[in-house]
């Protein structure tokens, strides 16, 4: 029974003119995107390698350890081929030296803005936007279309349970859509192998994860399409509803979520943070000055009745403790200021995290964004990519700085030209000679942060929940469906 229904469903999909069109578009797009992704990956990898080599070369030509102006580039990851995420939007490199804080700068898009105009089109995008559209296209008239053509009444003149029929419908459309997805992906995988993209076991697992989540995602759209179809009587109504749902789920909800969060949780800019910090330290210093003045006055007051000798004696006796007191105050202030700095930074981070959490939670009302966030985190190109890299770079910077300091001490040279003017000795210029090339053999190397592939449990949960909800809706609608045409 089920098999017969499923067979009919599959046959009607495979024979409909929709199918070849869908298949051609999906296959063309997926293969195009994967081959472009491979090309991009190769290009960026080459760029990365040359850039890194150049940095090493430059370092080698440097004369002094103090001048080491190291740059570390972000290493391209092959998962970018499938889900580019924010990898083109965030900076490609950061300076790593004593003189500057770690900060990823110059994104690929800001260097070559032409590529930013029309963006990148990747596997994730195609599944999210195109495949969902096709899922609706295949299912919007699943139930009401059959009613209109009278086949529904005919079918149910036979003893067939409604749920069986519904399941066969969903399964049939699902299978019909899996083919346009899986065949080109297989071709894409062959391309990966053919172009010798360094795919390790972990990458294959991630790819498997991507495919799994993608299946879940379009299962949702297939079920939702059938659900809408079984809740409406006429197919042109369900068609319209599907399209509106598509626009909302894919285009509107995700963006609006981020924007609402941006409004609801304002995050202070770096400039504002610095200003706050500054105000705080100014305030502290002023307080300190005031308390110092007050102390002086107190001491003066204490000593006011003394003779000159007594006074000197008193001062001598207390000088040490005064100085200690003063020193402790000073230290306390520095500590306070630092603590405040840390606190402000912490606050900033927390607020940013809060904003992100809110933005993503709101946008997750749409399974489309749950899907997007899921694939990005599986591929490791999600929003945390930047902070992960910057954190990694920061600890590298500490190590590197310690290393250069040590080297500097060993070679006993700070480098640079020093010009000293002295009212007594006149002017002197010291320009140390070249030290020849630097030996970089034991220089610590940056290890790209391990791409901790977190299984996006929440997002998968959301997708499963959405599928169940849509399925429930479909069953509820269909069990009460009026079959008459």
């Amino acid at each position: 029974m089920f098999a017969t229904l499923l067979q009919k469903e599959l046959k009607s999909i495979l024979l409909s003119p929709k199918f070849p069109a869908t298949f051609a578009v999906c296959a063309g797009l997926l293969i195009l995107s994967i081959s472009i992704g491979i090309h991009e990956y190769q290009v960026t990898t080459r760029q990365y390698e040359t850039a890194t080599q150049m940095v090493t070369q430059e370092l080698r030509e440097q004369a002094h350890w103090s001048g080491v102006n190291n740059r570390t580039y972000r290493k391209p990851d092959p998962m970018q081929i499938f889900v580019s995420g924010v990898s083109n939007d965030i900076g490609r490199w950061s300076g790593v030296s004593q003189f500057e804080p770690v900060k990823l700068r110059h994104s690929a898009y800001s260097d070559d803005a032409i590529f930013a105009i029309f963006r990148f089109i990747d596997f994730g995008f195609i599944v999210q936007v195109i495949l969902s559209l096709f899922a609706f296209l295949f299912t919007y008239d699943a139930i009401n279309g059959e009613r209109e053509s009278g086949t529904l009444a005919l079918t149910f003149s036979h003893p067939i349970p409604r749920t069986t029929y519904l399941l066969a419908k969903i399964a049939g459309s699902w299978l019909g859509l899996v083919i346009p997805l899986l065949l080109p992906v297989t071709v894409g995988v062959l391309l990966l192998v053919l172009f010798r993209i360094p795919f390790e076991a972990s990458h294959w697992m991630k790819l498997g994860g991507l495919l799994g989540v993608s299946m879940l995602y379009f299962s949702f759209f297939v079920t939702l399409g059938v659900c809408i179809s079984s809740l409406t009587r006429r197919s042109n109504v369900s068609f319209l509803l599907c399209l509106v749902a598509w626009v909302f789920l894919i285009l509107i909800v995700p963006r609006v979520g981020v924007i609402i969060a941006g409004q609801a949780v304002p995050v202070p800019t770096v400039a504002e943070i610095e200003a706050q910090q500054d105000a705080y330290s100014k305030d502290k210093n002023e307080q300190h000055m005031k308390s110092m003045e007050a102390k002086f006055r107190d001491r003066e007051a204490l000593m006011s009745g003394m003779t000159k000798e007594q006074r000197e004696q008193y001062e001598n006796d207390h000088m040490w403790s005064w100085m200690e007191e003063n020193d402790a105050d000073q230290k306390q202030i520095t500590k306070d200021i630092e603590a405040q700095g840390v606190k402000l930074q912490e606050d900033l981070r927390n607020r940013k995290a809060l904003q992100e959490r809110l933005a993503f939670s709101l946008s997750r009302f749409s399974p489309a964004s749950a899907y997007q966030l899921a694939v990005m985190s599986i591929a490791g190109t999600d929003i945390t990519l930047k902070s992960r890299y910057e954190d990694g770079l920061r600890s590298y910077r500490t190590i590197l700085n310690a290393f250069t300091e040590k080297k500097q001490k060993e070679t006993g040279d700070v480098g640079g030209i020093r010009i000293t003017m002295d009212s007594e000795k006149g002017m002197s210029i010291s320009a140390p000679k070249e030290n020849g090339t630097l030996d970089l053999t034991d220089m610590p190397q940056f290890a790209p942060p391990a791409n901790a592939s977190v299984m996006p449990v929440t997002d998968i949960g959301i997708l499963v929940f959405a599928i169940l909800a849509a399925f429930g809706g479909a069953i509820a609608g269909f069990l009460r469906y009026d079959m008459r045409s």
Binding site: A113, F118, V256, V270, A275, K386
Partner: protein
């Protein structure tokens, strides 16, 4: 006769539930995009002001202009840029200006706030390009073959109705019915801009007007394409499918493929390569100068500190100027090479992309909004001009220019005179000229022309196809 057909078309479209729903959605989106744009603009202005203030504040307490190593300038946010974001979120917004040396922009918005890069923005460009084109298709895909399926085409043509009048009525009627109502949410959006206090100059309103015109023209392209396909297809379902494929091609495939093809066809030396070449050359120049500096002997028997200092400054200035000139020539060459290649690449990419009306539209409106690729160049130019002012100012204050590998620390231990703090506000202010109306119009004109061409071609395409259409 045409009047009846237009009237009927208006009534049929506007009276349908389909219209009520889709028009509602589109209006909501348009108004939302204006609102988001305005809010976004306010946020950006706040950030911009804060960054500028912070930049000046850091100079507070300095007592010597020598200690001012660099000055940061920021690309000011533009109201139109938040309605049509273009590349404004992708390019660097901050430039560190030194007295000399090359400038490079950094801190793009998406780099600073990658959260916005995840889902991108919901701007007018996006709404028109993606949502409204879909809206046009949705209403016109069955313009002809749907009437055939309903038998109304036969009935209509059992009357003495010339086909040409019918199709003209159909085209104008559906355009009127669909495009003109869109002006309502757009007007509401404009009022919203006023209410939310987005400062727009007269020219900016004019540019916004042109953006809307381009939008309606683009809408017309998709409408005529749909009618065209509808008068080629026998069944409306196949017309819709065909149009969906065309839409995907136009909106998603052609523009991206064009850019990628151009990326492959035209090699542009990467920024890293160039940066490294420059670095190496500059390093080489500096090594040469290092020997010169080491060999510097102050004029013998000078007691006057001031004089010695001035002499030395002059010397340093001279070699720095020479070095700068050489460096400028060298990097000028490299940059020009890269820019030339980039220009060729862009021409190829955009030329190919213009096969898609969506890309053409996007280029037209980003030109009008001042967020096209030329924004990057204009910003650089303005920055270079500013650098000259800044250099002149610093020259006047300190007698020398820093930057390009030289850093000055002057630690004067003297005189007990309390040094006067510098007034940071004396620094020349960076102003980014708003793109002129005439310039943006000229830039967008070819694209608007292409959009018109598309409309005309598909208009006549539908006309001719319909004349040969079998109404049975």
């Amino acid at each position: 006769m045409i009047r009846f057909i237009i009237e009927k078309e208006l009534r049929e479209i506007i009276g349908s539930t389909k219209f009520a729903v889709t028009f509602g959605v589109c209006s909501l989106l348009i108004i939302l995009s204006f609102y988001i744009g305005a809010e976004n603009y306010r946020t950006l202005v706040d950030q911009h002001e804060a960054a500028k203030r912070e930049n000046l504040r850091q100079m507070e307490g300095l007592t010597d202009w020598f200690a001012v190593q660099q000055h940061r300038i920021f690309l000011p946010p533009q109201p139109l840029a938040t309605l049509v974001t273009g590349v404004s979120n992708d390019i660097g917004r901050m430039i560190e200006v030194h007295g000399r040396g090359e400038l490079s922009a950094d801190d793009s918005r998406f780099n600073e706030d990658p959260i916005y890069a995840v889902f991108r923005f919901l701007d007018l460009d996006f709404i028109f390009q993606i949502v409204l084109s879909l809206f046009a298709i949705l209403f016109a895909y069955d313009a002809i073959c749907g009437e055939k399926e309903r038998g109304t085409l036969k009935l209509s043509f059992s009357n003495a109705v010339p086909k040409e009048k019918y199709i003209l009525g159909k085209l104008f009627g559906s355009y009127l019915a669909l495009a003109v109502p869109l002006l309502i949410p757009i007007l509401i959006g404009c009022v919203l801009l006023l209410i939310l206090g987005v400062p727009m100059s007269g020219e900016e309103w004019a540019r916004l007007g042109l953006i809307v015109v381009a939008g309606l023209l683009y809408f017309g392209v998709f409408l005529t394409i749909s009618v065209f396909v509808s008068s080629l297809a026998r069944r409306s379902s196949s017309a819709f499918l065909m149009l969906l494929v065309i839409w995907i091609l136009a909106v998603l495939i052609v523009p991206r493929s064009a850019v990628l093809i151009a990326g492959r066809a035209v090699d542009v030396p990467s920024v890293d390569e160039i940066a490294s070449q420059k670095n190496r050359y500059s390093s080489q120049l500096f090594t040469e100068d290092r020997t010169k500096m080491a060999g510097y002997k102050p004029a013998a028997g000078q007691d006057d500190m001031e004089k010695t200092m001035a002499d030395f400054n002059q010397f340093m200035q001279k070699i720095a100027d020479e070095r700068d000139a050489k460096m400028q020539e060298f990097s000028g060459q490299l940059n020009e090479q890269r820019e030339n290649r980039q220009r060729v690449q862009r021409r190829v990419a955009l030329g190919l992309a213009r096969f898609s009306p969506s890309a053409t539209f996007s280029l037209a409106v980003s030109a009008l909004a001042g967020t096209s690729l030329s924004l990057e160049e204009e910003y650089k130019e303005a920055a270079v001009a500013y650098q000259r002012d800044y250099a002149a100012f610093m020259m006047q204050k300190t007698g020398m220019l820093t930057g390009g590998r030289v850093m000055m620390f002057r630690s004067v231990v003297d005189e007990g005179k309390k040094p006067q703090p510098i007034n940071a506000h004396e620094l020349p202010e960076f102003v980014f000229p708003k793109p002129a109306l005439a310039g943006t119009v000229t830039e967008s004109l070819p694209d608007i022309g292409i959009l018109m061409l598309f409309t005309i071609v598909f208009f006549f395409g539908s006309y001719l196809a319909f004349l040969r259409y079998d109404v049975r």
